[in-house]
Amino acid sequence: MMKRVIALVAVFTAACTLSLAQTIIEGTVLGAQGKAVDAYVMVSQKETGIIIASANTNSKGEYKLEIQSKTDSLTVTAAGMNIGQMAKVIANRSQRLNFSVKEESVKLKEVAVRAQKIRQSGDTLNYLVGAYQQQGDRVIADVLKRMPGIEVSDNGGIKYNGKAIKKFYVEEMDLLQGRYGLATNNINAQDVATVQVLENHQPVKALQGKTLTNDVAINLKLKNSAKGTLAVNTMLGGGIQRSGGWGFGPHPLSDGQNTIGKNPLWTAEAVSMYFAKRRQNMTLYKGNNTGNDVSKELTQHYSSINSVNLYPFCPTDAVMPGGSGLPQQRTFDNHSHILTMNHLEKLFTDTEAGLNIAYYNDRIRCEGSSESDHFTGDNSRLLTSETMTSETKINNLNVQARYNWNAPNGFVANVLKFDTHWNSDHVEGLLSSERTGTAPMGYGDERVRQHFDRPRLSVSNTFNTIRNIGRHTLDLHFSAGYSQRPNTLAVDIDSLQEGTSTGYRQDVTSRHIAGNLHTNYDFRFGAFTLNYGVMAHASLHGIETDLDGFEAGNHSLRNDLWYNTYEVVIGQHYKFVQGHWRLSLGCPLNLYTQTLDDRIREDKHSYVHLLVTPNVSANYEWCDWTANVSANYSKTVGDPGGIYSGYIMNNYRSFQRSYVEQLSETDRMGAGASIGYRSSLTATFLRLNGSYSHTRDNQTYGTSYEGATSVVQAVDRRTEADSYKLGFDGSKGFDWLQSTLRAFCGYGYSTSERLIGGTVYPFHSRSASAGAGGTITPLPWLNFVLSSGYSWNISQTNGSIDNPAQTVRSASQRLKVNVYVTKQLTLAASVEDNYNNLTTENRHAWFGDATAKLKLKHVDLELQMNNIFDQRRYTRVNYSGLDIYTQTSQLRPRNIIGTIRFKLL
C-alpha cells in the first residue's frame, strides 16, 4: 500500500514538472503588404482541438503566447474578423511563428433555434415558407394551405383573412395576369423563400399614398438560387383502373350506366420557368385522362384591368347530367390538354410588356341519371327521370397582349384580348315522365338526343392612363370590344309511343358590341378626396333567333331585334381619410337610354331613365382590428333577357318568352358590415360579417306546365325578395406541434315568391353551415389534416298542403394522414365521408385515396391509388322548397396511377 502511494506521488511530481515546462511562441500576424491586421492567435492541442491559450496582436502585428502543455504538437491559429482563420501545426517547443494572412471575410451558415414564422413590417406580412413546409409538400400551393390566415379554395383561388386577393406577383411582377394557379401549382415550394401578403395594396405607383385600398395582394419572394435560371420540370405517368375497357378512342355514348374512364390511364406535364430581374417566362403543357381537371390552373382569378364586359345573349343550353358536387377527378371521363405561354419583359425600370397565351382542349364524358319531382300547381306534381350520357368537346384559345408603364408620376396600360371558344355538347338520354295528383297521366319513355354547338368569339382592347397633376389625379379609361356567338341546339325526341316523335332546333345568333370611356379627376384637400368623373357606356345587343318544331299558338318563334343601351354617368365620390378612419360616399347620376328595335313586331321604342345609385362605406382600422360598414342602392332597367317576344328554347323541356309591354325594373338595396382581426405574432385571424339585401322587381317569371314541358313567361306583377346572411371564419396557428386550427360558420335566411300555374307561392329558406378543421403534427414523422363541415337547409313554400318544410342535412368529413417514413418516403392516406339525409341509398358515401411519394436525388416517384373503396355511383338529393332533385353520377372505379417527375434543366 505504502509503495503504491509513493509511486503515485512520484508520477504526480513528474507530471507536474512536465506540465510546468513552459513553451513560448511569439511572432507576427501581417497582411498582404506586411501591414499589421486586427487579429488574435490561439493555441490548441492538436489531437483534441481544445484551446489552451490565446493572445491578441499589438499594433505592430506582434503576439506572444506562453503555454504550459505536455502534448507533442500544437495547432496555432491566427484568426480575425477580416482574415478568417489560418492554422499551423508545430512541435511543442518555444519558437517564432509568423503568419502572413490574406483579407477574407467570414461567411457563416444561417442557423436559428427557431425562426419567427410570420413577420410583419407595416402592411406586409412575411410568411417563412420553410417554417410551414412539410416533407410531402412539393409546390407552393401545398404550403400556402398550411399558412394561417391564407385559404386556398378548390378552384385555386386564394383568400387572405376571408378576402380574395386582387394581385399575385412573383418577385413583384404580375406575369400571369390573374391565372395564378399556374404559379401556385407549379413553382416548387423549395424555391420560395417567403410568401408576402401585402395589405391595403395599391398596384398603381402613382396612387400609392394617395388612394388607399382595402385590397390584398400576394408576392412570392424566390430564393436566389431560383432566380435567373431556366428550370424545366417534367412528369410522366400511367396507370390502370378496375374496369371500363381498353382503348384510346372515344367511348360510344351509352345509357348512362357505364363506368367512367378507360384503360390505360396516362398523365404528362412539362413546365418551364424563368424568373429574372427583367424577364419572366412560364410555359407549360399538362395533359391526362385520369380525371384531373388541369384547366383549373387557367382560371383567371382577377383581371389586371377593367375590360369591357362582353356577354352575347344566349339563354339556350343542353340538359346535361348534373354535377354531384364531387370533385371532377371522380366523375370526369376526360382527355384534357392545356398549353400556355406567359411572357413578361421589363423594357425599362417602370415599363413592361407581356403576352399570355392559353389553349385548352378537352373531351369530357359524364354519365348519370337525374330524377326531378316538380311541383306543378294544384297539388299535382311532375315526376321525370332521365338517364344521360354527355360528351363535351372544348377548344378554347385565349390571347392577351399587354403594355404597362407604372411610374411614381404616372400610369399607362393597354391590354388587347382575343378569346375564342369552339365548344359543343352532345347528350343522349332516356326520359320518362308522369304527372301525379288530381289528373294523373303517364307520358311514357322517350329517347332524347341533344346536340348543342356553342362557338363564341370575343375581341377587346382597353386603355388606361393615370396622371398626377400636383396633388390631384386624372384617370382616363377607354375600353371597347366585340363578341359573337352563332349557336345551335338541335334536339330529337323519339317517343316510344308511335306518332309523337318530335324534333326541335333552336338557332341563336347573338352579337354584342360594347364600349366604355370614363375619366376621373381626384381633388385632394387635406383629409378629403373629391372624385368627379364622366362615364359613357354603350352596349349593343343584336339577337336573331329561330325555333323549329314548337307549337306556340299566336306567338312567334322568331326574334330579330337590336337592344341598345347608352349611358352617360356623372360620377361623384367623396372620401375622407384620417387617423383610423376611412369614409367614402358615392352618388353617380346615370342618364340611361335604351332603344329596342324589334324587327318581327316592327316595333321601335326608346326609353330614358335617370338612375341615382348611391353607396356609402366606412372603415375603421386600429392596430390588428379592422371594421367595415357599407350600404348601397342600385337600379337596373331592362336587360336583353327580358325583351324578346318570340319563344326561345331554354332547353328541350323549357320554352320561354319574356316580353311584357314594359321593361323590367329591378331595385336592389344592400347593406353589410364586417369586423376583422389579424395578429401576425400570435398567428390569429378572425373575421365576422353580416349582410342584408332587398330586391324588388316589377315583373315575375311564371312557370306553367304543358305535359312534361314547362313554359316560362314574364308576367306584369311586382315581386320582392329579402336575404340575410351572417358568417364567421377564423384560423389560428400554434407553434405547439406545428398545428393550425380553422373554423367557420354561416347562417342565411331568404324569402321570395314563386309563380306557378298562375298561383303565387311565398317561399322561405333557411340555411346554416359550420365547419372546422386543422392540421397537427404530433410526432416529427406524423401529420394529420382534418376538415369537417356540416350544413342544414330548411326550405318551405307556403300554400301547398303536401309541401311541408323539409330539412336537407349534409356533412362531409375528411381526414388525411401523412407519414414521413424516412426523409425520402412519404405515405399519405385520406378518407372522406359525404353524408346527405335525403338520399335513400348510401347516405354516407365513403371515399378513400392513398399516395406514396419517394424522393430520390434526381427523380420523384409517386404512386396513387384512388377510390380505394371502389364506389361506383354517387347520389345526392336537393330540395328547393317545391321541387326535389336527385342526381346520380357514375364514378371512376378504383385506379392506380404511377408517375415519375424529374428536372430536365
Binding site: G49, S54, S105
Partner: protein, 320 residues
Amino acid sequence: MKRTFPLASLCPQAMTVSADIVKRQLKQKPFIVCFIMNLACCAVWAQPKNAHCPIPIHRKAGKMTVVDTTRIRIWYAFNADDIKDENTYIDQQRLDIGKHVTKYYSDFYFRSDSLKAAWLKAHPGASSVPNFLGNGGKNYGTWSEYECSDLFISNGRLTEYATMPRYLDKYNSWYTEPYPLQQWKIEPERQTILGHQCQKASCHWRGRDFVAWFAPDIPVQAGPWKFGGLPGLILKLQDTDGVYRFEAVQISSRPFPISKYDFKNYRSSTREKVWKLQKTFNENWFKAADYHKASMDAAGNMVVGEAVSIYTPYNPIELE
C-alpha cells in the same frame, strides 16, 4: 414638477393596495408572516427585470444614420424559459458585427421603435403612440438598462448610450471604457451550440462569476452585453447564480445596416455615475421620478395626492 395620474391608469397602485392587505394580515397570523417572509426572500433574489419603471415614450435621440454593415448578426435570448419561444424571453438582443463597428442592442425594443415609426406614418393625425408594438417578451413595457441601452464597440473602446426610464430622460447619458473588459480563464469542457463546437471559459467580473461558451470557429472576439475578448464568439453566457443568461438563437451573415441614433442630447458621463443612476431607478423609480398619486376633490378636479415610493430590491449584472 409633480407627476400625477388617475388611479386606474397606474398598475403599481395595485401593489400598494396589496401591501396594505399584507400589513393587516401581518398583525393577525404569525404563520402567514413566515410565508410572506419567504416570499420576500424570493423577491430579494431579484430577477434581472422586476422594477416598475415604464419605458420612455420616445428615445430622446435624433435621426438614425447607418454607420456600418453587418458581417455577422447574432440574436441572443436574454433569460429564456423556453429557448424556442421568444415570448418566454425577457428580451431578444442583437449583436451586429460590422467591419469597424460592433453594436449590441435590444431586438424587441428596436422592432417596437420601427413599428411605432410605421404606425405614426400610417396614423399621421394620432395624438399618442402605442406604448410598445410587436413582441415585447416577458414583462414588456417596463424599462431595464439591458433593453434600453445601446452598446457600440470600436477601436478597442466600448460606449454605452444609456436611455433612462420615462420622465427621467434628462438623465440620458453616455460614457466609454476600454474593451475587452474581462480576464478569462479558458477551460477544456465543450458543448455544441447552434451547430458550433464551443469551449468553456470563466471569469470573475464586477462582483460576479461568469461562465461563457465561445465558438473558436467564429473568429470574432465579442459576445452578449459587455462580454468579449475570447478567441471566438461567445454563443452562451451566464453567471454562476443563474440570474443572468444569454444564449444565441440565430446567426446570419446576410448584410444588414448597422444604424445609430444621433445621441447628441445625451450627456457625457462616467460608468460609475450611470451605474448609480440605473441602480437607483431600478430600486425606486417612483421616488426618482417624483411620482404622486392623483385624486379627485369634491368638485371633481384632479388634485395632487401623496408621493409614491415603492422599493424593489435590485440585483444588477454588474454588482460593482
